[in-house]
Amino acid sequence: MADIEFAGLSYEQVVNKYNQTVVSVCIMRLKNWADAEDCFQNTFIRLYQKTPKINDESHLKAWLIRVAINECNNYIRKNKKTLSFEEQTNCAVEFPLDSLDVSWALMQLETKYRDILFLYYVERYKVDEIAEILQKNPNTIKTNLKRGREKLKQIYGGDGI
């Protein structure tokens, strides 16, 4: 365990440092805690088993986000025929009060807009970086970012985006 290092960080340090990023991605994708926990754990299991050779922390973060998105996609694909109890009872995720509205508005968006807006505004990634993480064309990212803003504006009703 102590022998494995990722960008100069031990495995435990990586978990402590990037758990918030991974859990945000999983919650934004899956909209409930129970499913997000599985993907959260799977993401770090993958990190430990794959032991990617990463020398840069920014790359490590991007790698974790990419893996978390893939884990969520796999989870959705495997469980698309089942409905979670949390979704049925409409008490999926408890956000802090100050973030409740924007989180709720984000979750009303389609996945492709949600991911881009999250990465752009929350994780502060640039368009090219988002394109690299999501493995899409930067122009597509720009277009979806613009459309996502408009849709969020319609849902949220604000004008400060």
């Binding site: 918030q20 924007v102 004008d159």
Partner: protein
């Protein structure tokens, strides 16, 4: 107006239990060896290659075993000859008549010339080069009495051609070599030769089998009274082959020569001849080979059907 504050989403934190579980992953999940990931493709490729090779070798050996099962194995020359003769009775009569015409043509194309006759003898001594004088084989000179085995009546049926002392190819069209009427069991009309008590005193081929060479493609397949040999006393052989899935082919089709028969030895008035297939010729195992032995006048002395 609302102001969207995305920073509030950053306050989303994972429960501590999640983090503890994630940290404890190394204790529950054993990391595979680095070697496996580093050389996984090479290992997979090598394993696949070895597997394919093993399967190929297994299939190859299996096919070879199947071929060997088809090929009959003879423990002795006598057994082989008996099997050949039994096959002659069934196969030759039914199938070779249809191919007789083509075989005759090929035989005419491959008549022996006098220059090669000395090579055909293979250095074997010829005691008697006189022409056969009678149509009926003389049996008053059996030297080696048989020991109760089934003698092979391999003498020619008749010899009504006017032979000369010089070796000449048959002037007239030779008797159809593939006609079963030429075989001793089914003699041609007018052939006085019958396997009667005359053959009782003839030598046993099995008794002389120990003279055979270790050469796989040279084997004594018959004998004849020496005085029945015409001209220089040479004998010739035409070879026809029938593969597993092909009709009969004349010797000219695949062997290119009819110098396949050699006089093995001359002893006590009998000339023993053997087929001698060149080493360069690739024997097809499992195929039937029909040996048609004739003398210089084109007279059929014997036919042998063998598996090589």
């Amino acid at each position: 107006m609302k102001k969207v504050n995305f920073d509030s989403l950053k306050s989303l934190e994972a429960p501590k239990s999640w983090i503890e579980n994630a940290i404890n992953i190394p204790q529950t999940k054993k990391a595979p060896p680095v070697f496996f990931f580093k050389y996984s493709r090479a290992v997979a490729f090598a394993a696949t290659f070895v597997l394919v090779c093993a399967i190929s070798i297994t299939l190859f050996l299996h096919q070879n075993n199947d071929i060997l099962k088809i090929e009959p194995t003879y423990s002795s020359t006598q057994e082989a000859l008996n099997s050949t003769q039994a096959t002659q009775e069934s196969d030759v009569e039914n199938t070779e008549q249809e191919k007789a015409k083509t075989a005759t043509d090929s035989k005419q194309d491959s008549k022996p010339d006098s220059n090669n006759q000395q090579n055909l003898n293979g250095g074997a001594p010829l005691e008697d080069e006189t022409l056969p004088s009678t149509n009926k084989p003389e049996t008053d000179k059996p030297v080696t009495p048989t020991d109760g085995g089934t003698p092979e009546p391999t003498l020619p049926s008749n010899n009504n051609t006017d032979n000369t002392s010089s070796p000449q190819p048959p002037a007239t069209e030779p008797t159809n070599p593939l006609q079963p009427t030429q075989t001793p069991n089914n003699p041609a009309p007018g052939s006085p030769q019958e396997p009667t008590e005359e053959t009782i005193g003839k030598p046993d081929i099995a008794a002389i089998a120990h003279y055979q060479s270790v050469h796989d493609y040279c084997e004594i397949i018959g004998y004849i009274e020496t005085k029945h040999l015409t001209g220089s006393g040479n004998v010739y052989c035409q070879l026809s082959k029938r593969g597993l899935s092909e009709p009969w082919l004349g010797s000219s089709d695949y062997c290119g020569a009819d110098h396949l028969c050699t006089i093995w030895m001359v002893k006590d008035g009998y000339t023993y001849f053997a087929y001698d297939i060149p080493q360069s010729y690739e024997i097809e195992h499992g195929a039937q080979y029909l040996f048609i032995i004739y003398n210089e006048s084109g007279q059929i002395l014997d036919t042998r059907l063998k598996y090589l």
